[in-house]
């Protein structure tokens, strides 16, 4: 719950920063670009993660009728995970990031995650092995799928080569990296924020309502179709990019198909409560479950909708997506976790909840908060999307200045912050309520253990289906196969990249100084607000220039396509403005764009570029197949310094301060000026 509070708080600050830019406080550690990854990681892995683990540990022991395999492993898992969260909370504000959404953490932490996950898996499968109940309830299936898939996703997405203690380059480049990242990113939503929570739903809702799930058959169909389909849907994050068309279509079709199993699951959950609606009065915590399922239904209706190409063309890069995500995270994951906590704590501490009235208030305040948040973001998103694409009959943009479309939605950012604030107030009520409940609990509770009979093992199995449900290992392998088929087909284009690259358009790799600048761009989280991918849509080509191609990003590790446009796209930025414009833009964005909501980056003029590490960086790139001359690799720092001198001289002659050559701002300018300048066929 502490992490939940932290996640919500960071979110609120980030929301305020967008509404009111001075909230960035000119502090590099809490600037939006660094705070936002911290917020998403805290929400997904710290808050949702710990809620999942608590629920899984509690319900599995009861469903499998045995104690966890090993208390030591449970403890290692718990403390290991908390350490990972802590290290994330330290490294992200310091700017150590891979700039891959939801996978920002650097390689040493990635390795730690793998180790802890394996500990969890051993503990969980060990428990399944020694279970006393042969039948595995459907919630257990969801947990199994979660553990296996998250392992596969994390490992495949995190293959990278270290450059230093806290920096690395992924082995994938350009469209490869983008696709692997969104295969991961989408399925992090699927297998970290959906399947485990569905498992929890299938356990806690029947428990809370004291009736069996509405249709067990439906839950099986739900499970298999969800696990099978979800994994294919990743490319819908990359519609209209330079990803091969067929992969986009595949992603879209499978996303639309997800409608069916998701709604099957939602209906199954809601109908479980059929005939128990009176409980809403006596057991108000059920309200949280009902709201969670409703939000699940809403988000999973909206998700496939957004992945239809024409809808995506409007919604992608806008705040609509942000609203969608939060309806899922706050509404579905948040409310289900809250319901679970309200259910669990009094029972674990053998007491009654301190105040049902407070619970009611928490529910209504949070619900209002989520709705305000969601509505304001969808309105902002659609407004902005429509303004971006508005074209006059003469074929010109109605709003050529990007800033016009930003200014229009700033009031909605305030509404969003208000919604987030309400959600946090509700959360604090819960924290207080739970604290009082625990205080109220009887001090000494005798430990009681239950002797449970082994059931199900002696029964004669009549048919194959029964057998399958009894076989933990076989079942896990099948679940693994279900996810792997989709993954292989989806990742195929990344492994055969050469087929999509037109040899006539091969681009030049970045110069050493540009690489240094690119790493600063990544560190500051510029990708959080600026995309580098122009879609082949008339209004975008008018606004930014030619649509992006496969070749342009073929050496980009990691890719920087971005997923949100709070500021304009940068793919064709190079040579558009003089160096001095970039300089002023970083120091005081309002000087070049009045009303801009971008933070200032004064530390870029103070910090020195690390030239020496460039040799190492280029040699890693070289190993990964970026065609650098061995001479350039060996003298990377000298090449970089030479280019830096030229830019600094230009800045100086136009009125900027002297002696900037060593400063980070110059490297960043070099990178920005190179964007869109590398291809032969521009």
């Amino acid at each position: 719950m502490i992490w939940a509070g932290a996640a919500f708080l960071f979110g609120l600050i980030a929301a305020l920063q967008l509404a009111y830019w001075p909230m960035n406080a000119n502090l590099e550690w809490i600037t939006f670009g660094r705070l936002r990854p911290l917020h998403t990681n805290a929400a997904i892995f710290a808050f949702a993660g710990n809620a999942i683990f608590a629920g899984i540990y509690h319900s599995s022991q009861r469903l499998l009728k045995t104690r966890m395999f090993s208390d030591v492993l449970s403890k290692m898992h718990f403390w290991g995970w908390q350490l990972i969260i802590l290290s994330a909370a330290i490294t992200l504000p310091l700017g150590y990031t891979q700039s891959k959404e939801y996978a920002e953490l650097e390689w040493p932490i990635d390795i730690a995650i793998t180790v802890v996950w394996v500990i969890f898996a051993v503990n969980f499968f060990g428990t399944i092995r020694q279970r006393r109940e042969k039948h595995m309830y459907v919630a257990i299936w969801f947990y199994i799928a979660t553990i296996i898939t998250v392992a596969v996703l994390h490992i495949v997405n995190s293959i990278e080569i270290p450059v230093g203690m806290l920096q690395s380059y992924p082995v994938y480049a350009g469209i490869q990296d983008a696709l692997v990242q969104w295969w991961y990113g989408h399925n992090a939503v699927a297998f970290f924020l959906t399947t485990p929570f569905l498992g929890l739903m299938y356990y806690y809702i029947p428990k809370a309502a004291n009736r069996p799930v509405y249709s067990y058959r439906l839950s099986i169909v739900h499970f298999w179709s969800l696990v099978f389909i979800y994994i294919w849907a990743g490319p819908h994050h990359l519609l209209y990019t330079s990803l091969p068309e067929w992969a986009q279509t595949l992603g879209m079709i499978f996303s639309v198909m997800l409608w069916a199993p998701s709604w099957g699951g939602m209906i199954n959950g809601l109908l479980t409560l059929k005939g128990s609606w009176h409980l809403l009065r006596t057991e108000p915590l059920i309200k949280f479950f009902v709201a969670a399922l409703t939000f699940y239904g809403m988000s999973t209706f909206e998700g496939p909708l957004l992945s239809i190409k024409s809808v995506s063309a409007l919604g992608h890069y806008t705040d609509w997506i942000v609203g969608h995500v939060h309806a899922g995270a706050l509404g579905w994951n948040g409310f289900l976790s809250f319901g679970m906590i309200y259910y669990l704590v009094p029972r674990l501490w053998k007491t009654e909840l301190y105040s049902k009235k407070l619970l009611e208030n928490h529910f209504w305040i949070s619900l209002t908060g989520v709705l305000l948040y969601y509505i304001s973001m969808v309105v902002a998103g659609i407004t902005q999307g429509l303004m971006w694409r508005a074209v006059t009959p003469e074929g010109q943009l109605v709003y050529p200045d990007f800033i016009e479309t930003v200014v229009r939605i700033v009031p909605l950012y305030w509404v969003r912050a208000l919604g987030g604030g309400l959600f946090i107030i509700g959360f604090m009520m819960m924290a207080y309520n739970i604290y009082k409940t625990i205080r109220k609990a009887p001090k000494a509770v005798e430990q009681t253990s239950y002797e449970v009979q082994r059931t199900g093992f002696d029964e004669q199995t009549q048919d194959t289906h029964r057998k399958l449900e009894g076989m933990g290992f076989t079942f896990s392998v099948l679940a693994f196969l279900a996810i792997i088929v989709g993954s292989v087909i989806e990742i195929y284009p990344t492994l055969s990249l050469h087929k999509y690259v037109n040899p006539a358009n091969i681009v030049e790799p970045h110069t050493p100084l540009e690489i240094a600048g690119r790493d600063i761009y990544i560190r500051e989280g510029c990708y959080v607000c600026h995309s580098q991918q122009i879609r082949p849509i008339a209004s975008e080509v008018l606004r930014y220039g030619n649509a992006s191609t496969v070749e342009e990003s073929m050496y980009d590790r990691p890719f920087q396509w971005g997923s949100k446009r709070t500021g304009p796209d940068l793919a064709r930025l190079g040579k558009k403005y003089p160096n001095l414009w970039h300089y002023s833009h970083m120091i005081d964005p309002r000087a070049v764009t009045p009303k801009s909501i971008m933070p200032s980056y004064p530390w870029l003029v103070e910090k020195n570029t690390d030239f020496l590490v460039l040799r190492k960086k280029l040699s890693v790139m070289n190993k990964l197949g970026v065609p650098y001359d061995s001479e350039v690799v060996a003298n990377a720092d000298i090449h970089a310094q030479k280019q830096a001198q030229e830019i600094a001289a230009d800045l100086e002659s136009n009125g900027a301060p002297k002696g900037l050559a060593k400063k980070e701002i110059v490297a960043l300018i070099a990178y920005l000026q190179s964007l869109g300048q590398k291809g032969k066929a521009q």
């Binding site: 009861r62 109940e133 309830y137 428990k207 298999w224 595949l250 289906h465 999509y500």
Partner: protein
């Protein structure tokens, strides 16, 4: 330029293959789940969370 690029995108068979695999899989699961004589098992399965031995 776009046309030129598009001629490389010829892997439509993968899309159809994906759809086919899924469809067969889905029909399989349906047949399996709605077989006759399975009601009793499911009735027992759905009671599992409610009969887990303790009140906690």
């Amino acid at each position: 330029m776009k046309q030129e690029g598009l001629k490389f995108f010829t892997d439509t068979y993968l899309t159809s293959l994906g759809l086919l695999i899924f469809f067969l899989f889905f029909v399989g699961v349906l047949i399996w789940v709605y077989r006759k004589n399975s009601s009793k098992i499911y009735h027992r399965m759905e009671q599992l969370p409610l009969t887990d031995g303790d009140s906690v």
